[in-house]
Each structure stands twice: as structure tokens, then as C-alpha cells.
């Protein structure tokens, strides 16, 4: 069944969109990532104009994260205080990101820089996670239950403005989480992602938060940052396609519920290996697009817009 999208001005198969939404939704629920890093390139691939894909994806992430976060609230795995600190950084970062995005657009190189951002961040994060979680798996296979990691007493703990985060069992400065939030906010506005794939590892490895609360807390922050990004795009670029968003999220919310159930049943280490592998696959695909000679060297853009 073909459906005409009013803002994107293209006609696509409705079931294809539902399927994509469902698939990405399952991953979103399993790993606590918004799935935007997967969905945005997929939308480019099926012919949605990039500007519409990025803006609409932000809107869709709000919905898929909302149903995910409800499930986590019920299981009391959301650190509200930590989430709020991350959020303050995130909103500032999103605003900053839109300024950077518009500057890149004026240079005419926004596509390249977005792709490069994807390759660099997905590559680094995926690689680190993959190695780390493989090591953890090997240890647990040897039968020696991994010794509880000693809290790092490095620079993260030497900073002022300390605050107690009860749900996470942490007593650390608010500066590192605020900076993490800020960084993720910038990426979310530039790359059209929720930023979970950066935030989840940062929370585990940098802040030392327990894996259990990481997913719920990152979803909590993502909801508000992506809602803010959606509003920025809707009011400045008019590129939010609500029909596209609804189709993606109908598949997405159901997928997210299934994913949350699967995620709760799977061991955390295996979950991390899977996520790392997925991140590396997307990274490899994007890197190949940059390295191999494209079949069409020319591309069209709307001209004379400024």
C-alpha cells in the first residue's frame, strides 16, 4: 500500500515504514538507544529527503523512547536526578548543534561532515565497546565471576559541585554528566540521532553508573532533547513529517516493548557485544560509501535557497 507523505513529498510503501519502525524499535528497547543512528541512514536509503529524515526521526525517537521509558519507570530503573543533570547539558548542546549545523549548511558540505561524524563516532564507540565486552565475556566464561570493578578515583571524582545520585549509588561532581549531556545534545542536532549510542557507554565507562539504570536514564534524557530538536526543526526548516513519524512509531512502539522484554532476559555482556557489533556494521557501511567510487558522481540539491 503506497502512501504519499505530505511534507517529504514522496510516495512510499506504508508496510515498509511499519517494518522499519518495528525493527529499529526492538533494538531501541533492547539496548536503550533511540535507534536514530540506524533509522536516519535507512530513511535516506529509501529515498526520504535527508532534511526531512533527520527532523522526523527526532519526532519518532520521542515516541519510541517514551514507551521505553515508561517500562523502565515501572521497574524503577531511571535515575531522575542524573537524568535532569544530563538534560540541562543536552538542551544547551542541541541549541549549539543547530547553530553548527546551519554553519555547515552554508559551507555546502553538511552531508560529508554528517557522514564523517557517523563513521568516527560509531567506529570509536563500537570498537571500544566490542573489545571491552569481549573481555568481560571471556572472564565470565572462565567461571571466575568478574570482580566488582573498583571505582575509578580519577579526574571524574576530583571535581567540585559533588552531588549524591542515590539510584545510581554515586557521589560525583555534576560537571562530567552535564558535559556528557552537552556533547550528546550537539550530536543529536547535527546527526539526527537520540545519542544513546554515545551516552550509554559514556555513562557506564566514564561516570561509572550501574548498567541497570543506564538504559532508562538515557531514554529519559533523549525524550526531552529530541522533543526540543523536533520543535527547532518544525519552526525553522518545516521538515517534520507527522505522517511519516506516525507510521514509523506505530511499528516502533510495539517493537520497543518486545525489545525491552528481550533485553531484560539477556545477560548484560551479551547485550553489549551485540550492540557493539551493530554499531560497527553501520559504521562500516557508511565508511564504504565514502571510500568506494559512487555510481552517480553528481547529486541534486534545491538551489538558490539562500
Amino acid at each position: 500500500m503506497q502512501i504519499y507523505l505530505p511534507i517529504a513529498e514522496v510516495s512510499v510503501n506504508a508496510f515498509l515504514l511499519l517494518g522499519l519502525g518495528g525493527m529499529v524499535g526492538i533494538l531501541s528497547g533492547m539496548f536503550g538507544v533511540g535507534g536514530g543512528f540506524l533509522m536516519t541512514p535507512l530513511l535516506f536509503f529509501i529515498g526520504i529527503p535527508p532534511a526531512v529524515a533527520v527532523a522526523t526521526e527526532a519526532n519518532q525517537i520521542v515516541a519510541s523512547s517514551f514507551s521505553g521509558v515508561l517500562a523502565h519507570f515501572r521497574r524503577k530503573t531511571v535515575d531522575l536526578r542524573m537524568g535532569t543533570v544530563l538534560l540541562i547539558g543536552g538542551l544547551t548542546g542541541a541549541a549549539l548543534g543547530v547553530v553548527i549545523f546551519n554553519y555547515l549548511k552554508s559551507l555546502g558540505q553538511v552531508d560529508l561532515l554528517v557522514t564523517l561524524c557517523y563513521v568516527v563516532f560509531l567506529g570509536v564507540v563500537g570498537g571500544l565497546m566490542f573489545i571491552e565486552s569481549l573481555n568481560a565475556l571471556r572472564k565470565s566464561k572462565k567461571g571466575v565471576s568478574a570482580p566488582p570493578k573498583r571505582r575509578q578515583r580519577g579526574w571524574v571524582h576530583a571535581m567540585p559541585f559533588k552531588m549524591r545520585f542515590r539510584t545510581s549509588g554515586l557521589y560525583i561532581s555534576v560537571i562530567p554528566p552535564a558535559l556528557v549531556g552537552l556533547f550528546v545534545g550537539v550530536l543529536s542536532a547535527i546527526m539526527g540521532v537520540g545519542g544513546g549510542f554515545i551516552m550509554v557507554p559514556a555513562m557506564i565507562y566514564l561516570l561509572g553508573m550501574p548498567t541497570k539504570v543506564v538504559v532508562g536514564t538515557s531514554l529519559f534524557q533523549i525524550i526531552f532533547v529530541t522533543a526540543f530538536t523536533t520543535m527547532l526543526h518544525a519552526t525553522t526548516n518545516f521538515t517534520v513529517d507527522v505522517v511519516l513519524a506516525v507510521l514509523l512509531l506505530v511499528g516502533g512502539v510495539i517493537g520497543a516493548q518486545i525489545g525491552t522484554v528481550i533485553g531484560a532476559r539477556m545477560p548484560a555482556e551479551q547485550l553489549r557485544v551485540l550492540l557493539a557489533a551493530l554499531v560497527l556494521v553501520v559504521c562500516g557501511k557508511l565508511a564504504l560509501d565514502l571510500l568506494l567510487e559512487p555510481s552517480e558522481l553528481y547529486s541534486l540539491g534545491t538551489g538558490g535557497g539562500h
Binding site: 504519499y4 526543526h233 538558490g304
Partner: protein, 254 residues
Amino acid sequence: MLKRLLVALALCSSPALAVDEEVVLGLSQDRVAITANFDGSEILVFGAVKREAPIPSGPPLEVIVAVSGPSSPVTVRRKERKLGIWVNTDSVLVDEAPSFYAVATSAPLNEILSDTEDLRYSVSIERAIRSVGAAMNIRGAQEFADAVIRIREHESLYSIREDTVAVDEQTLFRTSIEMPADLTEGDYVARIFLTRGGQVVSQFETTIDVRKVGLERFLYNMSRQQPVWYGLMSLVIAIAAGWGASTAFRLLRE
């Protein structure tokens, strides 16, 4: 300036347009409504040639039908390999390129329309795209215009279908123009040319109104006119659907 004047003079005094033969046209539809499940449209173009005198002897009457969508400038970028990766380098602004362009003819186009007539009426796809201001410092500016045609032909937005206009007794003609699902809205112009021996003897122009209707129209207008409310509405719909599906799923499992 002088050149322009000459062209203008030539146009005014052109004997080709002395109206001996006139087009009487019918369209199966003069408006295309883009609804939610719009997946393309086929427009039947048919007509007759009205003339006061008997059919002139000489080369037979040929018919060309050209339908074009609203034009807009297009930036064409070319990739080159820099430091091992493929990067957009040169770009050319093509001043005017129709969003849709379909030509149907009753015989191969170059046989029934001379180059000068093509230049005057901009009938072929190459002529319909204008890149007057193309930067001369970029090598092969023509390649950029060719790229627009190639890419849009690939998306079936541009097409030339020769020998698809049926002409009976040099008087009746009919053809159909297919419009793809990915249409931009606007006034589409349908032009019909009658030619003899490569010269245009008569032309006729009409518009086809392509518009979004219903929900599509409402959402599009709202996103442009009340962006803040549109954005908030999108968020509310998203959150409601997210919460609704989550609750429904949970109830289902219990």
C-alpha cells in the same frame, strides 16, 4: 541587445504561426488531487485539428505533447576523490529545471522538429533546462545539466516517449502521459505542438492543476503557517501513540 531584438522580430513575423490549423484539445482530467494514497496518475490527452481549408499537401502533420511541472533552481554537486574519500567539490546552479517533464511525440523528435524550432519553443528535455548563469570557470558545465537529466530520468520524472502519439487522418490525435507518485504540487503546463516538415505550425497550451487535498493539504498548510502548533501537535501525537501502544501491549500481556 541587437541579437535579442532580432529574435523578437523573428518571433513576431514568424509565418509558422499563421493559424491555418488549430488544436482543439481534451484532457481526461485537468486536475490531479494528491491524496494520502496517491500513487501516480495517467492523463489522457486527446484532440483534433481544426482547419478551414483542405489538408495542405507536403510533409504530414506531426504532434508533440509536452507536460512540465513547476520549475525551480537546482544545485548540482560533483564528487571527486580527495584524500581517499569521495567529497562534493564543484557545484553548478542550474537556473531553471522543471520538477517534472514528459514529452510524447508522433515520430522521432529530431525528424519532426528542427533545431531552431526546438531552440525557440524549448521542447526537448535538454532545452527545457536552462543554465544560463552556469559558472564558466568550471570545466564541463554542460555535464552538470546532463546530470540533472540523467538523475531525473532515472527517477522517472523526466521522460521522452517517441512514437506514442497516435495521429489519424492528420486530424485526430491521442496519447497518455504518466505522472509518477513523487509529484510536487503546482501548475503543470501541457503544450501541444503541430509540426510540418520540422516547423511548428500551431501550438496550444493549457494547465493541469496538481494539488494536495484533504489531510495532506491540511498538514502541509499547518506546517507552513503555524509551525509551532504543528510541531507541538506532532509531539503530542507521537507521545500519545507511544503511551497508547505501550499500555495496550502491557494489558495484552497480563
